[in-house]
């Protein structure tokens, strides 16, 4: 079983996630074509059960070279604004139960099985992404009194 573990930071649940640009596959792609390995960069994501949609900061979007495909009108307590929409692949870094050669838990990237349509948000110093319920509803969670938490990924 793969689990992602974390500890509350200032009462915020932060996990490490991987973000990659989503590239639609050509319909005529031959299965003999060589696959391309892309590096997975790591970002800090706030788990937010109050958010209906996953968000990435502008810096994260720029770093991954995501290309806007639409807009969305969003209202918050301060104002209302038009945000941009991007499609991306998102995964969660986890510690598996299998032990590596040196006895440390193996670290793996659990890729969510479908691209995620995300909204851009302002940069901030605490996190690079907000994982909303569009992603979180696929997983089980456990929060402990001491502040530790686990997300079961499979």
């Amino acid at each position: 079983m793969l689990v992602a573990r974390g500890k509350l930071e200032r009462l915020q649940a932060i996990l490490e996630v991987g973000v990659q640009k989503f590239i639609p596959q050509p319909t005529a792609l031959d299965n003999q074509d060589p696959s391309i390995a892309m590096p997975v960069n790591t970002y800090r994501a706030l788990l937010d059960t109050g958010a209906q949609r996953t968000c990435l900061t502008n810096n994260t979007i720029a770093s991954e070279g995501l290309v806007r495909h639409g807009h969305k009108f969003i209202r918050n307590v301060h104002d209302e604004a038009t945000h941009s929409l991007f499609m991306s692949n998102i995964g969660i870094w986890s510690d598996g139960l299998d032990m590596g050669q040196n006895g440390e838990p193996t670290r793996s990237h659990f890729l969510i099985d479908r691209p995620v349509e995300v909204i851009n948000i302002e940069n901030n110093s605490n996190f690079d992404a907000i994982l909303g319920m569009d992603v979180l509803c696929a997983f089980s969670f456990k929060f402990e009194k001491g502040g530790e938490f686990e997300v079961e990924l499979n």
């Binding site: 639609p24 596959q25 050509p26 319909t27 706030l46 937010d48 059960t49 109050g50 958010a51 209906q52 949609r53 968000c55 502008n58 810096n59 979007i61 720029a62 290309v67 806007r68 495909h69 639409g70 807009h71 969305k72 009108f73 969003i74 209202r75 918050n76 307590v77 301060h78 104002d79 604004a81 038009t82 945000h83 941009s84 929409l85 499609m87 479908r114 691209p115 349509e117 909204i119 851009n120 948000i121 302002e122 940069n123 907000i130 909303g132």
Partner: protein, 86 residues
């Protein structure tokens, strides 16, 4: 905020918003694929529309808008977030 280049998607969005009241009756919940400020077709998911748009118009040459007038809640960001998106 950082500069994200504007162009096709912004022009399409303006055209889409002007048509939205009429679209809601017939296409609510569907996703409009747009190119050149015109609607190219409607799809059941954003992903379906993006796949077709990417193949027909190339990256950055199209946009996809959901036919809806619902306002989404962004949780933490809705209550503590900032302003000035684009």
């Amino acid at each position: 905020m950082s500069a994200i280049p504007k162009g096709e998607t912004e022009r399409n969005y303006a055209a889409f918003m002007s048509q939205l009241p009429d679209l809601l009756e017939k296409f609510c919940g569907q996703f409009a694929l747009m190119h050149g400020q015109e609607i190219d077709g409607f799809f059941q998911s954003a992903l379906d529309a993006i796949a077709v748009g990417h193949e027909k118009f190339g990256e950055g040459g199209y946009s996809v808008q959901e036919v809806t007038d619902e306002i989404e809640n962004l949780g933490f960001y809705s209550y503590a977030g900032g302003a000035g998106q684009a």
